[in-house]
Symmetry: C2
Subunit: 229 residues, 2 copies
């Protein structure tokens, strides 16, 4: 029977869907978000709204010292790419890559899991992310699970630690369809890397482009776009 689980929740649509999936599988969902020098805090507000809406058992926001994360346009002053085509999005590792970010996130999540007696971690990496981010690929997720069972008391005792990445094989459109079936309100989420002062998505960054394509694939209007127009 599913017990407690630790879910990484960013405030975006992928992790909101994962939270809904873990809850639907019967896990007691303990959400974790990180403040790591993002350019804006809107996504943490979104994470809080999403956790409340999906009735997470708890929601921790962990402060990460940003000194370690030099070298990304998401946390520094570099240019965020804009207006790229879907094909260009698939090329190479983007400048928004934050070194070892998912690794640090999962490591914290594992510490929290051990503290609450959980062996289940959930993360919203998905097929769209693979080509760009090393720490979104299935090989990394699998390797982290193996390592986690060697790193912790609960892992050594049970061998049962598992990182669930239920979006792994899904495209954006499929993710959105699945989330809607589970009652996710995507109007609570944010995706834009650089929203305006009023929180409106820019519509031009990689994240906005992928989100728009996802809703288009799903044949549904984005509640965020509807709200803004």
């Amino acid at each position: 029977m599913p017990g407690p689980a630790v879910i990484l929740v960013s405030g975006g649509l992928d992790s909101a869907t994962v939270l809904a999936m873990a809850a639907s599988d019967g896990f007691e969902c303990h959400a974790v978000s990180f403040r790591y020098g993002q350019r804006h805090e809107l996504e943490l507000d979104a994470a809080t709204r999403v956790c409340r809406s999906l009735q997470a058992a708890s929601h921790r926001v962990i402060d990460l010292d940003t000194a370690a994360f030099a070298g990304s346009s998401l946390t520094g002053s570099g240019e965020i790419p804009r207006g790229r085509s879907i094909e260009e999005l698939g090329e190479g590792i983007p400048s928004t890559y934050v070194p070892a970010r998912n690794l640090v996130f999962l490591s914290y999540a594992l510490g929290i899991a051990e503290g609450i007696g959980s062996t289940d971690l959930f993360i919203g990496v998905n097929a769209v992310d693979y080509s760009g981010y090393p720490d979104c690929r299935p090989a990394f997720i699998e390797s982290f699970s193996t390592m986690a069972n060697l790193a912790t008391r609960i892992g050594i005792e049970t061998g049962a630690i598992r990182v669930h990445a239920p979006l792994q094989e899904l495209g954006k459109g499929e993710i959105i369809q699945r989330g809607l079936e589970l009652g996710v309100d995507y109007g609570l989420t944010v995706s834009c890397y650089a929203p305006g002062v009023d929180g409106a998505p820019c519509g031009e960054c990689d994240s906005c482009i992928l989100r728009a394509r996802g809703f288009s694939e799903a044949g549904i209007e984005d509640p965020l776009t509807r709200r803004c127009s």
Copy 2:
């Protein structure tokens, strides 16, 4: 030829020795310490002294949010074990175990390494630690290295990321002898889990007991003890 390396430096004698070994191997040593809700900050002061003394190229102190590290007597209010025999020290996982601590440390170190173009991490885990702490064992270190080469851009491009644990096979006495050959001043380090207000070691916690045995094995007087008597 050795390039830049990231060294975890705690202020204790093991990591001071590792820093000296990495420097002696020709690496450009970038030291990292963590403020993670330890019971005292003396060890961070010690880390700073050690890095200065051994001429580290840089020294970062990273703040870790302690919320994730519930459940250890090192960061909480639990009793620190005192007066245990050497045999008792080898039994089970001690209450000073901090869930996933070395994993979080190494994950940060990896992020820093990637930022400075380094593929070499150094950590001071050693034979004495194995029985007690899951994340000090060679199997964990090896598994982390494998995972690190999948988690990062530099790992994917080079496959060269390696976690060095040069004390892995050494007992405390051997570590001290090696460090003295390399000019480590152990009078700058601290080991005690719960020093007095004047910084004097308690002499009764697991860490003091192991340190005392190490100097005894090395046939050398501990400069800290000499200073205090």
